[in-house]
């Protein structure tokens, strides 16, 4: 596969197959000002099938990486400056996640009209299992995925 190299920006590799559009959604992309290249369902020796996203002129911050970890736990992040990979790392789970997804319990206080953001504790990473800090509802990987469709 030939995808043009980017001069500056971020390459997110090893995204779970067919999840790249969800990753773009949580990054607020595409928008009018950002060049984005997507490769979906491409073959990889390491992981079988995977997606790749290249984002020009944007370096992701740690909260964005937390969100990507939820959807694509095997993803790797490459920061590119002047065509060189200057930093490379895997996404990492944090023990606590705020404001990324909503609690699936309609009767949870976080879904009421109060000054409160959703907050979850990570119980397991494989498969992902979260617990709402407030109502203690468990959220599994399928319920997380459903929020990005």
């Amino acid at each position: 596969m030939k995808v043009e190299a980017i001069k500056n920006g971020t390459v997110i590799d090893h995204i779970t197959s067919n999840k790249s559009l969800h990753v773009l959604k949580i990054l607020g992309l595409p928008n009018e000002d950002t060049n984005v290249t997507i490769a979906m369902n491409v073959f990889s020796d390491e992981v079988g099938r995977k997606d790749i996203v290249k984002i020009e002129n944007r370096e992701l911050d740690s909260s964005e990486l937390d969100q990507i970890a939820l959807l694509a736990p095997e993803a790797t992040i490459n920061i590119i400056r002047d065509y060189e990979v200057i930093a490379k790392d895997k996404v990492r789970f944090t023990n606590e996640l705020k404001s990324i997804i909503n609690c699936t319990n309609p009767n949870c206080i976080t879904n009421a009209d109060e000054p409160i953001e959703s907050r979850f504790h990570l119980l397991k990473t494989s498969p992902i299992l979260l617990r709402c800090h407030y109502c203690e509802r468990l959220i599994d990987v399928e319920e997380i995925d459903n929020q990005f469709y």
Binding site: C108, I109, T110, A112, E114, I116, H133, C135, E136, L138
Partner: protein, 309 residues
């Protein structure tokens, strides 16, 4: 130094270790005479308990109020959101901040899950969860366990069945978790629609707690020491038709339990789950259980307000 009961809030029974529960049980026993007005105490004189009952309550609210007053303190608050600024559209956060300024501790009941946790995160005074939707009701659990301990002088090895609405009945969520700390034999008897939620089962399995699930009361009734019966929570049912189908699924009457060696408990109010012909028998523990709310909540109030001082 071993730290015992250093909690500053009582939100979920999961915040308790076994030693914390045992500590509260012991303290409650010491306070029974004060609860019955046979001894005098002014340990919480000058302290004010803020009572924020957004949902109706009789036993929980009155036992907190009685307990606070028996310890020399006083209470301010409301029962039902109509009686507060919430009815004018004030949000929970603002109402709680106001109560924080007026009180030394807050007791909160609300129909949304997670409210007590939310408020405890934004105020500096101790917060006690008096029931949050179908979530937790930790002080009810403590008085339930106290009732069992007072009757059998132990908890370990008892055979305890939780019967009825295990999905929406918040008292059983807290109780199952707490009983799991005491090596009991536990059964969950509920119609398929009202089985124990996956969250509670997940926590029990994670702690290697054994339990048995059935929808047939006859599977367990011959072996149990405690029948803990709950009301089908009409107000939490999405529709009336579903409620009608399940209402009255398990009726405990004298004929059913006659000759068996067990006690019947209920967090009350009951709405037809226990026939009144059980009331004047040795099996009835539910009225005594309601009284035990006073010494148990006194023990909590005393410790939680003192921990904060």
């Amino acid at each position: 130094m071993i730290k015992i009961f250093d909690l500053t809030d009582v939100i979920s029974i999961k915040d308790f270790q076994k030693k914390d529960i045992q500590y509260i049980l012991k303290k409650a026993e010491n306070l029974e005479k004060v609860a019955k007005s046979e001894e005098y105490s002014d340990e919480l004189a000058g302290k004010i308990l803020g009572m924020m009952f957004f949902e109706p309550s009789t036993r929980t609210r009155l036992s907190f109020e009685t307990g606070m007053k028996r310890l020399g303190g006083s209470c301010v608050g409301f029962d039902g959101s109509v009686a507060s600024s919430v009815s004018k559209g004030e949000n929970l956060a603002d109402t709680s901040k106001m109560f924080e300024a007026y009180s030394d501790a807050l007791v909160i009941r609300h129909d949304l899950e997670g409210v007590a946790k939310f408020i405890s995160d934004i105020v500096d005074v101790p917060v006690i969860n008096a029931g949050d939707g179908a979530g937790q009701h930790p002080t009810q659990t403590l008085l339930d366990i106290y009732t069992i301990k007072r009757r059998f002088d132990k908890i370990k090895d008892l055979n305890i069945a939780l019967v009825g609405d295990l999905k929406y009945g918040r008292t059983v969520h807290s109780l199952a978790y707490a009983l799991g700390m005491f090596d009991v034999q536990m059964s969950f008897v509920a119609p398929d629609e009202l089985k124990m939620p996956k969250e509670t089962l997940h926590d029990l399995e994670k702690d290697n707690v054994k339990f048995y699930q059935t929808n047939n009361l006859k599977d367990v009734i011959d072996d149990v020491d405690v029948l803990y019966v709950t009301r089908i929570q009409k107000e939490r049912f999405p529709d009336e038709e579903e409620y009608s189908k399940i209402k009255g699924a398990y009726l405990i009457n004298h004929h059913l339990i006659k000759g068996k060696d067990l006690i019947v408990m209920h967090p009350l109010p009951r709405v037809g789950e226990i026939s009144t012909d059980v009331d004047n028998t040795k099996y009835n523990k539910y009225f005594e259980q309601a009284f035990y709310g006073v010494p148990v909540r006194m023990a909590i109030l005393k410790n939680i307000i003192k921990n904060k001082i």
